[in-house]
């Protein structure tokens, strides 16, 4: 299975600032996704990172707040912009090859906004 490196593993940020999270995979993958897991909650899909085109965002998430890049098949970034305490969460990068293959997850980025 793919090995996923996510950076940073954690960060504490001040409100109003932005943080970019990186996701590097050791092999080419078809699908890359970004999820958010708020404390004690389930995983909520933010967007699908599409290689060479704009990300596909889920309802409630917008590009201005969560810009995503995916320049190639092994790398993606998620930026959390103009942060507020409500953005405190774990952000997870996940990858998959096809719909009938399981998702593999990075270890996540634990973000605290003060």
């Amino acid at each position: 299975s793919a090995v996923i490196s996510q950076k940073p593993s954690r960060d504490i940020c001040q409100r109003g600032t932005s943080l970019t999270i990186q996701c590097q995979v050791d092999s080419q993958v078809t699908m890359m996704f970004w999820y958010r897991q708020q404390p004690g909650q389930s995983l909520t899909l933010i967007a699908t990172a599409n290689q060479g085109s704009e990300a596909t965002y889920e309802s409630g998430f917008v590009i201005d707040k969560f810009p995503i890049s995916r320049p190639n098949l092994t790398f993606s970034t998620l930026t959390v912009s103009n942060m507020s305490p409500e953005d405190s969460s774990i952000y997870l990068c996940s990858v998959g090859d096809s719909l009938n293959s399981p998702l593999h997850f990075g270890n996540g980025t634990r973000l605290t906004v003060t």
Partner: protein
């Protein structure tokens, strides 16, 4: 729209007892179904998956799950729970929507194991 429901937020069982975690899904086509486990402070680990064929699937750590199309369910079971099974369990469905694949997760069931 696709959705996954895990009716039980918390479940407590004694070590050695049997376990069943419920999962119901809503999806118009043949679902791709998964169970993941998340131990405290750890990442998500795949327990098992169902795509087609035998409706009873075996996974790691002694877990199994049964797909029942008539009930839109994919319940997770284990005959004898170990203390190390205490964790959060997530059911997920893989779906095709708006021309792209995505995976929808249930709200999770937190398992507590009593010694």
């Amino acid at each position: 729209a696709q959705s996954v429901t895990q009716p039980d937020i918390h479940i407590t069982v004694s070590e050695g007892a049997s376990l069943e975690l419920r999962c119901n899904y809503s999806y118009g086509a043949t679902p791709y179904l998964f169970w993941y486990v998340q131990s405290p402070g750890q990442g998500l680990q795949l327990l098992l998956k169902y795509f087609s064929g035998d409706t009873l699937v075996q996974g790691i750590k002694g877990f199994e799950a049964e797909f029942k199309r008539s009930q839109s369910s994919f319940n997770l079971r284990k005959p004898s729970v170990h203390w190390s099974d205490a964790a959060e369990y997530f059911c997920a469905v893989g779906a095709l929507g708006s021309g792209t694949y995505k995976y929808i997760f249930g709200t999770g069931t937190r398992l507590k194991v009593l010694a």
